[in-house]
């Protein structure tokens, strides 16, 4: 009998813990940003920042070593590819110098939207999120540097994602490849507007609702659309079309887009201090 009573008390404890968790989940859902739970979360991340930075500098070589082990083959192939690319780029840069000068003049003339200077903050990528599902990285700047949730994050080569959380000295960036990420895009050649959804780590983004008649070519550039009220400013480069095919009986083409940025090997990013349409 005593055993029975004890196990009932144990079950009561479990129910209590479960109810507490559910209450916190509910509060976290309903609370607008800046609420108590956000304060706790941000406080913890700030408090942890120095410890994490120290641990990071210790473990960075380990990560590099492990990364090297698991992708030695691809690194070697990449090295070869880069060598040939470099030779090609050298010759191309000579030709493009002229074109670039011309473009600058045109921009100055027409005052196009993507010439807009958006102020930005550079930050270092400190770690990946400790999750097996969500694709986020933590960066070493936060609200102290005017970073806020919702801001777009880029590197030199293109769009990385957007800030989803910012504490004083840390911010979390959700990558465009995350499954919950949606980016409004424009296909550069045809000007077609669409939405690119993240497909998970190392996967291409998939683009929905591209009309059957839209001409598409592999390698075509994809940029953010920047429509009214969209999350990203217009004309940030996102990626290139990798495949485009029509399933039998489908009413639209299925298109995949490879991001330009190597999202698993970023060191520095730029946060655009941009919050919604001007």
């Amino acid at each position: 009998m005593a055993v029975y009573r004890r196990s009932r008390r144990h079950r009561f404890l479990l129910v209590l813990l479960a109810l507490t968790s559910i209450t916190v989940i509910t509060l976290d859902f309903r609370g607008e940003s800046g609420g108590f739970l956000d304060g706790v979360r941000n406080g913890a991340r700030d408090a942890f920042a120095p410890v994490q930075s120290a641990a990071d500098s210790v473990f960075n070589p380990v990560g590099d070593f492990f990364g090297g082990l698991t992708r030695y083959g691809s690194l070697k192939a990449e090295n070869d590819r880069l060598r040939s690319d470099l030779a090609q780029a050298r010759s191309e840069s000579l030709r493009q110098a002229g074109a670039e000068r011309e473009r600058q003049k045109l921009l100055a003339l027409q005052n196009l939207e993507f010439a807009q200077d958006i102020p930005s903050v550079s930050a270092r990528v400190v770690s990946n999120g400790p999750s097996n599902f969500q694709l986020t990285v933590a960066i070493d700047k936060g609200t102290d540097d005017r970073i806020a949730a919702g801001m777009p994050v880029v590197t030199g080569s293109g769009l990385v994602g957007r800030v989803v959380d910012a504490s004083r000295s840390r911010a979390t960036v959700m990558l465009v490849t995350d499954r919950s990420s949606n980016v409004g895009i424009r296909l550069q050649t045809s000007g077609t507007l669409a939405v690119a959804r993240g497909g998970g780590a190392d996967k291409s983004l998939s683009v929905d609702l591209v009309d059957l008649t839209t001409p598409l070519s592999p390698g075509e550039a994809v940029v953010t659309s920047g429509l009214q009220g969209s999350v990203f400013p217009p004309d940030l480069p996102l990626g290139r079309v990798s495949t485009a095919k029509v399933e039998p009986g489908a009413l639209s083409q299925s298109v995949t887009v490879d991001p330009l940025v190597e999202l698993d090997r970023m060191e520095f990013v730029k946060v655009l201090l941009w919050s919604g349409q001007p």
């Binding site: 507490t20 968790s21 739970l37 913890a44 641990a55 400790p130 097996n132 599902f133 969500q134 780590a201």
Partner: protein
């Protein structure tokens, strides 16, 4: 050093959290990292039974939730149930072999990952249940199983459990 579990358990949880956030996010196999905080809950269930499993799971889950984008409390809910379940299962079997914690960690970790994905779906995040979920479950299961003997040892120290008290020490 004091043998008070109220000091030792947070110490272990925080140490493992630091390793989790800095070392193990880098050591990924096919993009999957071990779930150390879940493993702590399982280890607590193995060494200390249902109640300690549930309490440690709640704590480790809540701590890791602070660094995730899923709603706060989701891991706490899942880990406390997993810790409790492992504790319940442990009391019913003979603890003699070294492989029991390993197998337990594999099953409980894979189950915990599934439970977490389903719970996230229930609260509205539908991005977790995908074709990849099976792979994540299997890899987390295997990696946590490999780390289980170590985790069990740490938890036995933290909870100050001796085998005579119904606990398990490798």
């Amino acid at each position: 050093m004091t043998s008070d579990p109220r000091l030792r358990v947070p110490l272990v949880v925080l140490t493992v959290l630091i390793l989790d956030l800095s070392l193990f996010t880098r050591v990924r196999v096919a993009g999957v990292m071990p779930d150390l905080m879940l493993l702590l809950a399982i280890a607590a269930g193995i060494t200390g039974g249902q109640v300690r499993g549930a309490v440690v799971g709640f704590g480790s889950g809540m701590v890791v939730d602070l660094f995730l984008q899923t709603p706060l409390g989701l891991s706490a809910l899942v880990f406390s149930v997993v810790g409790y379940t492992v504790g319940t299962a442990q009391t019913g079997i003979l603890r003699a072999s070294w492989w029991i914690p390993v197998v337990t960690a594999f099953v409980a970790s894979a189950g915990g990952v599934l439970f977490f994905a389903l719970a996230a779906t229930v609260v509205g995040d539908t991005s977790l249940v995908t074709a990849r979920l099976g792979l994540v479950m299997a890899l987390v299961g295997v990696m946590n199983a490999l780390l289980a003997p170590l985790a069990v040892r740490m938890m036995a120290w933290a909870l100050d459990c001796t085998p005579a008290r119904g606990g398990y020490v490798v």
